[in-house]
């Protein structure tokens, strides 16, 4: 028999006032059973309904009374039928008495287990506790609760009670208060937990559907110093429940094989690079650690000898103002430090420090090595958790903090440095203020969507679909349930309630798609010339084209175009009217060719011009050039040139043609 086998009796109120939430009761209970079918196959479940039309329970037969309570399913090992039962709960028309139901539940457990199985028995009551319970035959209702609590305690039975009250139209506040007090009395006198929920979404998250046996991460001393130590146990407070790992399916097994697993195994082989057919055996493999481009081979034994090996222990580094540790630095899931159970001194010591920290708004910084042989240390922040329940000791929450290496200090612009067109004006700010104030999810301490009562919609959907598929293998994935949509989408009721605030917000802000979109890098080139548009702007176009760097061809094209342009000017010139223009262009061309290290290109062109026109009436143009000291590019100006300074100075007079 499994060590952690648990027995649960579900006491479900199906009376008239519960009808609106019964579908959520159905799904949360079937989820509980489904998870047991997967994770706790030997757990046992019983189902008792209250508020039914009929009556069917052993106590009624034995002693009478206990009306409108039906034992739908006796305590037995979970099976698929239990899910069916729970998904189709009957709707009752009577007011059930939850105290009677608890007694029936206890009766079932005692008859089944007697004195055995202590501490692994649980009663789970779901009701709205809205109607008065019957007065007992003798004593007060309080006495009755005391007697029942006593019985639960001796038999090691826990009570989990979920009180569901969505909206309260014609509710009797006095009755509810009395009922709440009675239930609270259980939590003082027995091991019981009472949870109040006010929406169907929270109902789905209110019941722990999976039992995870808690394991301590660390048991030992919280060392304030070498002389002052407090005995603590450390557990995980949060730990993500993962999407179940599914197995890979193989259809190769013959249909006659009754013991087929249908599994696919994954096999890894390590092969040498040079010889792809050669499999390298495990003992010939060695780990290589990357360090930049290098890979450093280190065997496990070597690594073991040199690696960081801190001593086990949890040590205090000091206290600091809580404001020194911003919330977003919390790195991981959260731990809880509880004082060693039953150790009064530890309980008091933890309580004193926790309360002092709370009063002074301090946090403590710890260095933790949970177990011997752990290869790293953890630095984290300890925060007080003052218990709100009398019989639970004070404790601490512990969050892991980052090391230097874990933080990237990106710099972002200040909002104040943004242009005023990006800043909200007064009216817009007011609209935002109203939105933040009014769209309140925690009005007068009635917080909705508390993480503690919000189920994981993906897991809900998976288990729901799993059950569906077990009956109907070709079923489609069902749409997300309405109660779960409250988690993933804004609640239309809340939004329509604050319609004016939202409308005002929307009215005040304008959004539009950026027409320019992402292509900013290409945009920079748009509008740059690819030909010389107008003759007059030859120089500007040339410079712009020379400056283009999207392709190297632009430089040669610019030079070529400029050369043609100058030639055109000269050929069409009449009595030197285009000389000044041509000279301007040549100056630009010369400068460009120096910048671009293309002196030969310029020199060749200038000499060509000279050769072509030195004996024509354009010869005076070259005199003008030398008077403006516009000459060949010398080696001094551009190293690629093979014209000396002397030769350049003498152009056009004594230049030998050497190109």
């Amino acid at each position: 028999m499994a060590r952690n086998k648990e027995a649960v009796v579900l006491l479900l109120d199906v009376g008239p006032s519960m009808h609106s939430v019964l579908s959520e009761v159905e799904s949360v209970c079937s989820m509980l059973v489904q998870k047991k079918l997967i994770f706790g196959k030997s757990d046992e479940v019983g189902v008792v309904l209250l508020g039914t039309d009929d009556t069917c329970n052993e106590l009624q037969k034995e002693v009478g009374g206990y009306e409108h309570i039906v034992v739908l399913r006796n305590i037995s090992v979970v099976d698929g039928n239990a899910v069916d039962f729970l998904q189709n709960l009957p709707r009752g028309n009577f007011r059930g008495d939850f105290i009677d139901a608890i007694v029936v539940g206890i009766d079932l457990l005692i008859k089944k287990f007697g004195p055995t199985n202590k501490g692994k028995q649980r009663i789970c009551l779901m009701t709205d506790a809205r109607y008065p319970i019957k007065a007992p035959y003798e004593g007060t209702k309080e006495d009755q609760v005391n007697t029942i609590s006593q019985m639960m305690q001796t038999h090691g039975i826990r009570l989990d009670c979920i009180v569901i009250r969505e909206k309260l139209p014609e509710a009797d506040l006095r009755v509810m208060e009395e009922n709440d007090n009675l239930l609270d009395q259980f939590s003082r006198k027995a091991i019981a937990k009472i949870v109040h929920v006010d929406s169907s979404t929270s109902l789905l998250g209110a019941l722990k559907t999976r039992n995870i046996s808690p394991v301590t991460v660390f048991r030992g001393d919280l060392e304030l110093s070498s002389t002052m130590k407090i005995k603590v146990w450390v557990y995980k407070k949060t730990s993500e429940e993962k999407f179940p790992t599914l197995k890979k399916y193989s259809d190769k097994a013959p249909s006659s094989d009754k013991f087929a697993t249908y599994e696919v195994k994954v096999d890894y082989e390590y092969k040498s690079m040079e010889d792809p057919d050669k499999v390298v055996p495990p003992e010939q493999r060695i780990r290589g650690y990357r360090y930049g481009p290098q890979v450093v081979p280190i065997s496990s034994a070597e690594w073991e000898a040199v690696k960081f090996k801190p001593e086990k222990g949890v040590k205090l580094l000091g206290f600091t103002d809580a404001s020194n540790i911003l919330r977003h630095y919390y790195m991981k899931d959260v731990y809880i430090f509880v004082p060693e159970p039953g150790n009064k001194k530890a309980i008091v010591a933890v309580s004193a420090i926790a309360r002092a920290m709370k009063d002074m708004n301090k946090s403590a910084i710890l260095r933790c090595v949970w177990r011997q042989g752990q290869g790293n240390v953890v630095i984290g922040v300890l925060r007080p958790n003052i218990s709100s329940v009398d019989n639970i000791p004070d404790s601490f929450y512990f969050n892991v903090l980052p090391f230097v290496e874990d933080v990237r200090e990106f710099q972002f612009p200040s909002f104040s440095s943004f242009p005023s067109s990006w800043q909200p004006n007064e009216q817009q700010q007011e609209a935002a203020d109203n939105l933040v104030k009014m769209l309140d999810l925690a009005p007068s301490s009635k917080e909705v969507l508390q993480p503690d009562y919000t189920p994981n919609p993906v897991l809900e959907r998976f288990y729901h679909f799993l059950e569906l598929k077990s009956k109907q293998p070709d079923a489609d994935v069902p749409p997300l349930d309405g109660s779960l949509k409250r988690i993933t989408e804004p609640n239309p009721a809340v939004f329509s309630h604050h319609k004016s605030v939202i409308d005002n917000f929307c009215k005040n802000f304008e959004l539009k798609e950026n027409p320019k979109k992402k292509k900013s890098s290409k945009r920079a080139w748009r509008g740059k010339p690819s030909t010389f548009s107008e003759k007059e702007e030859g120089v500007d176009d040339f410079e712009a084209m020379m400056a283009r760097r999207d392709s190297s061809k632009w430089v040669s094209k610019a030079i070529k175009d400029m050369q043609n342009h100058v030639s055109d000017l000269l050929e069409n010139s009449y009595d030197g009217d285009a000389y000044s223009k041509a000279i301007e262009c040549l100056v630009a061309l010369r400068k460009g060719c120096i910048l671009e290290q293309e002196p030969k290109e310029f020199n060749r062109y200038l000499l060509g011009l000279y050769e072509k026109w030195k004996d024509t009436d354009l010869a005076n143009f070259f005199e003008l050039l030398s008077s403006k000291s516009l000459t060949l590019i010398s080696q001094k100006e551009a190293s690629d040139s093979n014209v000396t300074e002397e030769e350049a100075k003498n152009f056009p007079v004594k230049t030998e043609l050497k190109f």
Partner: protein, 629 residues
């Protein structure tokens, strides 16, 4: 490939690895262009007794740190280090005054190696004799070392397409007026040429970033020359580098921060109400750094091995294709799921961030955490007006001390999140906390465990501390106060050791480096009389006067009281006595062990603290091994 076999740094699951990696995985090529003019070697701070700190030293320091971070993190980025205003020259173009620094087994622009980091950190010692420093731009010469430097840097960055690689030149200088020493036409000409060169470089998709170093009494004036070179205008200039370098460390800090290139994780839509849907970028500012992937090598050749994965049907042993159907056993049946169905189940939202409402900050409890947070910052790139709305909400949330509850419908991990507005915090060393919102991943009820209820006392109140005890604890916490504690002031000793060892091995050094563990408590501080007294008073207050004695008594009672341990001890004694009466070596020598009974063999094993399980042969071979036969 096996990730971190010891599992020391293991993240939770494979599907989450994406969360820890940035999506924007483009490579980066960086040229560090460092001014080496004599001005850079002038004392930037004149402490009387200490060696003067130079700007050059600060620049080298920054680069070394950044290279160190790169080699640990994104080691596929390539870097080159280049000095200008040097006496010697070393570059492909053979231009004067530019020296490209490199070490063996490495291209000029390449991934940083252990040797590069090491030699760079010592470069100052031999700089004057090997490379030399001089003013590059002086009157009477047409030499333009800045122009040359930009050209060399651009040439170094020639490889790789601008689309897949981001290319940057980081220019370190303390000269805000590089052409100040010359005048006239030469000056205008040289300035124009240099600007054109810079523009050319930028047009090629290379960004030039200036990391200016200021003098204590004289702020670096960006507008003299560099504003034009960088293409800064108006407002940009004023925000460029406002704080003067009063303290060199602060300036070094600022530079170091600016050297990081911001990499966003992704751009997501944030739907606020009705049709209002803005756009934000997400950044992973805090993620655990792991020592990176390991590679399997052939221990004979030290060459990497190729991993081949094959799928085998467990029932028939046949090789199969990678299956696309998965199953989950349920009610003694096999429930099959296609990949498509699985992704449909997980796909419960549209990838956007949906605002659900606002809550006061105290609704966010200390245990509402699962993973490192993600930073969000608005962008107007595609939706104009996003930033304005974001700023307005940000301000309101700060004003009313509220956080936004939202649903982040990411495809692989949809989750409820808290968006906590963070105001900008700056210090003398620049921005400490950027303005924006932090997305905190909230647990579901399935993820929260009610551990504290495990040890509930029945019908009895748990003891609580008295006021006096609380007062003593307060006094203690005032004594042991970490005033300037800042998150992440500690280096991770495990990682430091890891990389220290790798660096030593990569450089072929025999000495393993000693890494100081900064995370240990300050024993010396804790032994100050004031603290010791506060501790003692608190101890007496909560534990009573004779705590240590009581503890010792309990421990003693436990030690002698345990039935089992006494029995074990007695057995060991008997075994030792019995075992001494045999000549084991002789028995083993003559193969006579097998003639003994199992009980007799076990005497030896028990006496020598060896396991006593297994068949007779196993016991014999264990004894032989132990005897060294």
């Amino acid at each position: 490939m096996d990730l971190d076999p010891e599992g020391l740094f293991r993240d939770d699951s494979d599907s989450e690895s994406e969360f820890y990696r940035e999506k924007d995985s483009t490579k980066e090529f960086v040229v560090y262009l460092v001014d080496a003019s004599p001005k850079m070697f002038g004392a930037a701070r004149s402490d009387e007794d200490e060696k003067p700190e130079t700007h050059f030293h600060a620049a080298i320091n920054c680069i070394s740190q950044s290279l160190m971070a790169q080699i640990i993190g994104r080691s596929y980025d390539e870097v080159a280090v280049c000095f200008f205003n040097t006496k010697e020259k070393k570059n492909l173009q053979d231009l004067n005054g530019v020296y490209v620094f490199n070490v063996m087994d490495r291209e000029c622009l390449d991934r940083p190696t252990a040797r590069l980091i090491k030699e760079l950190s010592y470069v100052e010692d031999t700089f004057m004799s090997n490379i030399g420093s001089r003013y590059g731009i002086v009157s009477g010469s047409r030499e333009n070392s800045l122009y040359n430097a930009l050209w060399v840097a651009q040439a170094l960055l020639r490889k790789g397409s601008a689309k897949s690689v981001s290319k940057r030149i980081l220019l370190f200088t303390n000269e805000d007026d590089p052409f100040g020493s010359i005048t006239g036409a030469t000056k205008t000409d040289m300035i124009r040429m240099t600007l054109q060169r810079a523009k050319d470089t930028q047009d090629l998709g290379i960004s030039i970033e200036l990391l200016p170093l200021s003098w204590p009494d004289e702020e670096f004036n960006v507008s003299i020359f560099y504003a034009e070179l960088l293409g800064l205008e108006g407002d940009d200039i004023s925000q460029f580098l406002p704080s003067a370098g009063e303290i060199l460390e602060d300036m070094t800090d600022q530079l170091r921060k600016r050297m990081f290139k911001k990499r966003k994780v992704k751009t997501i839509r944030f739907s606020i109400a009705n049709d209002i849907c803005i756009e934000v970028n997400t950044y992973a500012l805090i993620r655990p750094t792991s020592p990176g992937q390991i590679m399997w090598l052939d221990s004979v050749t030290n060459l990497p091995l190729k991993t081949e994965r094959s799928f085998i049907c467990a029932d028939t042993g046949a090789l199969v294709q990678e299956p696309h159907t998965y199953f989950h056993p349920y009610k003694n049946e096999i429930i099959k799921f296609s990949m498509d169905e699985l992704s449909k189940i997980k796909n419960i939202s549209d990838g956007q961030l949906h605002l659900l409402g606002f809550k006061p900050l105290d609704c966010l409890k200390d245990y509402h955490n699962l993973r490192p947070s993600t930073f969000i910052f608005p962008t107007d790139e595609e939706i104009v007006g996003s930033t304005r709305i974001f700023i307005a909400l940000h301000r309101s949330m700060l004003r009313f001390q509220r956080f936004a509850l939202a649903f982040y419908g990411s495809l692989y991990h949809p989750q409820l999140v808290a968006l906590v507005a963070q105001d900008e915090i700056t210090s003398s060393s620049g921005q400490v906390e950027p303005p924006g919102m932090h997305m905190i991943y909230l647990p579901y009820s399935d993820d929260i465990r009610h551990v504290e209820e495990l040890h509930m006392a029945v019908d009895a109140n748990a003891p609580r501390a008295t006021d006096d005890q609380i007062k003593k604890a307060s006094a203690l916490s005032r004594r042991i106060d970490l005033k300037d504690f800042s998150v992440c002031q500690f280096a991770n000793p495990a990682l430091q050791r890891h990389y220290g060892i790798l660096q030593a091995l990569a450089l072929g050094e025999d000495e393993m480096p000693e890494i100081k563990d900064e995370t240990l408590p300050d024993e010396e501080g804790l032994s100050r009389p004031g603290i010791v007294r506060a501790l003692q008073e608190f101890k007496i207050s909560v534990y009573g006067e004779n705590h240590d004695q009581e503890e010792a008594n309990t421990a003693a009672a436990k030690g002698s009281g345990s039935e089992a341990s006494r029995k074990r001890k007695a057995m060991a004694e008997t075994a030792a006595r019995e075992s001494a009466s045999y000549d084991w070596a002789d028995l083993a020598e003559n193969g006579k062990l097998k003639d003994l009974t199992v009980v007799e063999l076990k005497y030896y094993l028990t006496a020598h603290n060896l396991p006593v399980t297994g068949k007779k042969e196993a016991l014999i071979s264990r004894i032989l091994t132990h005897l060294g036969k």
